[in-house]
């Protein structure tokens, strides 16, 4: 684990050690899964799993929005593509028995790859667009995806379900799969972000022109961010499809994208741990607010505005959770730092 380019802190763990630790961590989810299913209330377990899925989504969006400083408002579109790809294939093949878990893994990756291709297609316009324009273009992309899903009954032999939604997908995702996915996603993006490539991503965020002048292929990094972000969003979508067994097109609209952007900004754009914490808090909070019934969303949006007014840099403001004293290299946290009026 390298830090973000400044000098290292005296001790460091070799790469193989980190890899082993990760494998152990993922493997540890297996018995934990079993314990939780036995002991934990199903509702809380569900919330916990949804936290895991939102962690994947928010962390992958953080790569695009927080670390690379692009502004995507269409992340739910990538999630939808992954969810429908995995869900539809899963329903078609309905794998059972011993091979089912392997099939799930394979189909999750397929879902991720399909989403990644979409990420590539969306990434290409980013060559031309930045800031607010990009935000609206990606938002438009999300709406286009929604429209396509809502009007498509099936693609060849694979069911999409149009506006009725896709139902009766075999349910395979458990706590283990959700958290294995979350760990792999967070670890990959952490290591990418604090590597030499990560510096390039951050350079694009800080000043695209200066970065290009320093010889960074900004186009490549912007598209790369989109492709990787879309891949993990697609995987999260696939996990979601095989967790609930039901997909409805409305779940992947604008509102979901906004929810994810809020997680990233609240966590402190660019801070991976911050975004993970924000994803957890913002999944858990609305559940606790159920008491307020129809005022729930009013309170949520008020909280959002107040949060932005009082702490615009987010919870952690670009820093990482376990590294309090070191302020990250970024001086202008929160991406595009153009002030009002140029």
């Amino acid at each position: 684990m390298k830090d973000d380019g400044s000098r290292s802190r005296g001790w460091s763990v070799p790469a193989w050690g980190v890899n082993c630790a990760l494998v152990v961590l993922v493997a540890g989810m297996w018995p934990l899964d079993w314990v939780l299913v036995e002991q934990m209330d199903e509702y809380y377990l569900r919330v916990l799993i949804l936290v895991g899925l939102n962690v994947i989504l928010a962390t992958s969006l953080n790569l695009i929005n927080g670390i690379t400083g692009q502004f995507s408002l269409g992340h739910a579109g990538f999630m939808a593509i992954g969810a429908y790809a995995t869900g539809s294939l899963m329903k078609y093949f309905s794998p059972t028995g011993a091979g089912a878990e392997a099939a799930l893994l394979a189909l999750l990756i397929v879902g991720g790859l399909v989403a990644a291709v979409a990420g590539l297609l969306v990434g290409i316009p980013t060559l031309r667009l930045r800031g607010d324009y990009l935000a609206i273009a990606t938002l438009g992309f999300g709406e286009i995806i929604y429209t396509l899903i809502v009007t498509t009954d099936r693609i060849g032999p694979f069911e999409i379900g149009s506006s009725s939604g896709l139902h009766a997908i075999p349910i395979r995702t458990s706590f283990f799969w959700a958290y294995a996915g979350a760990i792999v996603c967070v670890a990959s993006i952490w290591r990418l972000s604090y590597s030499a490539k990560g510096l390039a991503f951050r350079a694009v965020r800080e000043d695209e022109i200066a970065a290009a002048a320093m010889g960074i292929d900004t186009t490549y990094y912007k598209v790369l961010a989109f492709v990787i972000g879309a891949f993990f969003a697609g995987v999260a979508g696939g996990l979601y499809a095989t967790y609930d067994g039901n997909l409805a097109p409305e779940s992947f609209r604008f509102t979901k994208s906004i929810e994810l952007v809020v997680m990233v900004v609240l966590g402190g754009s660019g801070s991976i741990t911050g975004v993970v914490v924000a994803a957890a808090v913002l999944t858990y909070l609305p559940e606790q607010l159920r008491f307020f019934a129809e005022w729930r969303m009013v309170i949520y949006s008020l909280a959002l505005i107040l949060m932005m007014l009082l702490r615009p840099e987010g919870l952690l403001g670009g820093r990482e959770l376990l590294r309090w004293r070191r302020v990250a290299a970024a001086t202008t946290v929160g991406g595009d730092a153009v002030q009002s009026g140029r």
Partner: protein, 376 residues
């Protein structure tokens, strides 16, 4: 900044401690707990709130008369923000945290399918007030409904169109809405004449003139408009502006004070419904009077179905003799000739409600019965 770490840890610990499995006996509390999941906010909040109001009225009336089995009935309502994913979470909470003995919901079929999966898994009976897609009750033997199914109602519309001698019909479907698409599919199956135009819109659209101009150019005898009341009046108004002066007809989604309040512009249009607001049956009259007293509004179709769902459910609990999910399920399945406000309800072997459909004609902001079609 350390406080954030502590806060996060505290919230986490709180969540885990609160999250242990509750293994208490279901239905042993001093009240009978019924869960409800509804779209109280979001895109279809209007339907969720209507059915919620109907349900609350039913429970209030039953509790005033002493409740069921000597206990008061308590409804725990959860909002699902008009989202299927949230619907599953809400139902999960109702079943495993609140330990309800039965669930009522949802209006939209896709959310009933999502929530129904959970109910079936835990063997908790679920009664949907208004989900019309045939697949909803196929989820399993614990899922019931008290409304028509799409294919039945679409077929009724087709029969009616033929009785009227409409040879060329244009269809105008809400593509983002499975109810509307279901009705269209049912209509196409049953209709023998020519379908001259098959146009679509999306719920929440405001301007339909482009499609209506297109429909007008094909010269239909009538237009089949299986939408919700939130769109229907706007469509017909704009059609009349374009001098598309043929009858429009649709399903029970039309039933609402909004449609009646539109007045003369809706003259000569027809819709199928569970009941007629002018129905002299005491169940209907009492419901409308009580609803107006409580909410100072005229009920729409969702309100009456929400009310009946509550009444049928509480009747089933009474007949079951105990508030246990399996017993309630059996009693629900045995519902026969229940005098609901939305018609006489009999649950068939596929757990769907059988009741006759009325075809109502609109005239001057009033309806009168044009036809009655019995379930085949």
């Amino acid at each position: 900044m350390k406080w954030i770490t502590w806060m996060v840890l505290a919230v986490g610990v709180w969540g885990l401690v609160g999250g242990c499995k509750d293994k208490g006996q279901r239905g042993s509390s001093s009240e009978i707990l019924i869960g409800e999941f509804a779209s109280m906010t979001g895109a279809t909040a209007t339907f969720g709130q209507s059915s919620h109001e109907g349900l609350m009225l039913a429970v209030e009336q039953v509790n005033e008369k002493g409740g069921v089995l000597g206990k008061k009935v308590k409804v725990i309502s959860e909002d699902n923000r008009s989202d299927a994913n949230e619907a599953v979470t809400a139902v999960q909470k109702l079943i495993s945290r609140d330990r309800v003995v039965a669930v009522i919901g949802e209006v939209a079929s896709k959310r009933s399918l999502a929530g129904g999966g959970v109910c079936q898994q835990y063997k908790i009976p679920m009664l949907s007030p208004a989900s019309t897609n045939p697949t909803v009750t196929q989820v399993g033997d614990y899922i019931f409904r008290i409304c028509f199914t799409d294919d039945f109602q679409g077929g009724v519309c087709a029969k009616f169109a033929e009785k009227r001698g409409w040879k060329k019909v244009a269809i105008f479907t809400d593509v983002a809405n499975d109810y509307s698409k279901g009705l269209t599919a049912g209509f196409k199956d049953g209709y023998q004449g020519t379908i001259v135009a098959d146009e679509s819109f999306r719920e929440g659209d405001n301007d339909f003139k482009a499609q209506l101009t297109k429909i007008k150019a094909t010269g239909p005898d009538a237009v089949f408009l299986p939408g919700y009341y939130t769109d229907v009046v706007k469509v017909v108004k704009q059609a009349r502006q374009l001098e598309l002066n043929v009858p429009f007809f649709g399903g029970d989604g039309w039933d609402s004070p909004t449609t009646l309040a539109a007045g003369a512009v809706m003259d000569g249009c027809f819709y199928t419904d569970h009941y007629s607001p002018d129905d002299p049956r005491p169940a209907v009259r009492e419901f409308i009077a009580a609803y107006q007293k409580k909410y100072a509004r005229t009920p729409d179709a969702m309100a009456i179905l929400g009310y009946d769902a509550g009444m049928v459910m509480m009747d089933a609990i009474k007949r079951a003799g105990k508030s246990e999910p399996a017993a309630i399920r059996d009693a629900l399945a045995a519902t026969k000739g229940f005098p609901g406000a939305s018609g006489t309800i009999t649950i068939d072997e596929k757990r769907n409600a059988r009741k006759p459909a009325f075809v109502l004609e609109l005239k001057g902001g009033k309806t009168h019965i044009a036809d009655t079609i019995e379930p085949g």
